[in-house]
Symmetry: C2
Subunit: 236 residues, 2 copies
């Protein structure tokens, strides 16, 4: 793709590449590729070889693992500035798939280039290490939640997580458009159960359901539906 932007002037200030020295950022400029993905298009395929480490320049992405037959388990929702594909950094084949939830632009570095970066930028390696620690924390919280929570709690927890990641606009509308199936694939249940639970929440005045949007009316009450009182909330 032409007109590739330099990471030095990238607006995504939270991107890990910013941890590298300017000289190294300059050096890898030519190695970076950018690709556009349409909403719904798959970016990474679980089980295929890991060719690159990627960053979300713009857009929204779901990261998921294959389950039974055509079932998926969504393990993370990501957005602009986030690293993508780092789960494959110590593997030749990708442990996860990723799909665009919106039209998205993805920056990619060949895996060996990124490893070069790590070897020569202590700050990058250290920051990435701390990031992995947070990712592990989140995943283990979810491991516990999947095992202990009932459908109502998992659904509420999913909404709280989505608020944390994507936020809500001034009308309290969740800033992401997901199908019931997507919500179920993250919550660890079925689309019908999600539909029923969301109807319950609406009846109780906790949320409101627009045509395609979810309005958060009472975030505190939503939190109270989860195990959050024990110690739960995700790091982000």
């Amino acid at each position: 793709m032409k007109n590739i932007n330099s990471c030095l002037t990238c607006i995504n200030e939270n991107c890990f590449i910013k941890s590298c020295s300017p000289s190294w950022i300059q050096r890898i400029k030519g190695e970076k590729t950018e690709a556009k993905y349409k909403k719904g298009q798959q970016i990474i395929f679980e089980g295929t070889s890991v060719e690159s480490i990627n960053f979300i320049y713009s857009g929204k992405v779901k990261v998921f693992k294959n389950g039974y037959s055509d079932k998926h388990q969504i393990v993370k929702f990501s957005k602009s500035g986030n690293i993508l594909g780092h789960r494959g950094i110590n593997s030749t084949i990708s442990p996860i798939s990723a799909s665009a939830l919106d039209d998205s632009v993805i920056c990619s570095f060949p895996r060996h280039v990124f490893l070069d970066l790590l070897q020569n930028n202590q700050d990058l390696t250290f920051n990435l290490l701390m990031f992995f620690a947070d990712e592990l924390y989140n995943s283990e919280v979810r491991e516990r939640n999947m095992a202990h929570m009932n459908v109502r709690e998992k659904t509420a927890d999913t909404l709280c997580y989505l608020i944390k990641v994507y936020g809500a606009d001034k009308y309290k509308t969740l800033n992401v458009c997901l199908s019931r199936q997507d919500i179920a694939d993250f919550a660890g249940t079925t689309k019908q159960q999600v539909s029923k639970t969301l109807s319950d929440f609406k009846r109780e005045g906790i949320i409101d359901l627009d045509v395609k949007n979810i309005l958060i009316l009472n975030e505190q009450k939503l939190h109270a539906q989860t195990l959050v009182h024990i110690e739960s909330s995700y790091k982000y």
Copy 2:
């Protein structure tokens, strides 16, 4: 504790401290403490401040998170040479608890000393980064398994995992002594369900149950009970 061994002569060759330069290992020698824990004794308490990063010199340890009331979710089983408490490296309070499954000896470095090590030993940081990637992989496999598997599959998966971590002796006896509750806390079910499922496996000739031991008669058949045919097995 007196007579603290040097990491340079430690028999645990897979310990991450071995990634440090000899001069640094020498330098931190005086910072290391060793402590003995009796079987059943708790080593780390979730929610308390993270004072140190630890290594298991000898023994076996379960790592778990608090759930509802007095329920636990075991997220990992560890053994000699393994790092312990690294989940708290990017946090002031510990996200997990840990208890000794056997009499164990634990080596500890103050957190700031370990962070010093990271800043000055690129290999250590890099190796730990790759390790965290594997830990994340395992946790996300489990996240999927907790959400998708039924009790029978989760129980079989737990046994496969335990074989991988602790192995079995020449009589195929699993090299670790766990209560049904421990197995349930890892599998994400109840002790009664574990008991019933193990009885099923025994009836089917997949395992045999001694007084306190589990004999693995047919590991292949055990694997076949899980989702492993999709792509599942843990990294270890």
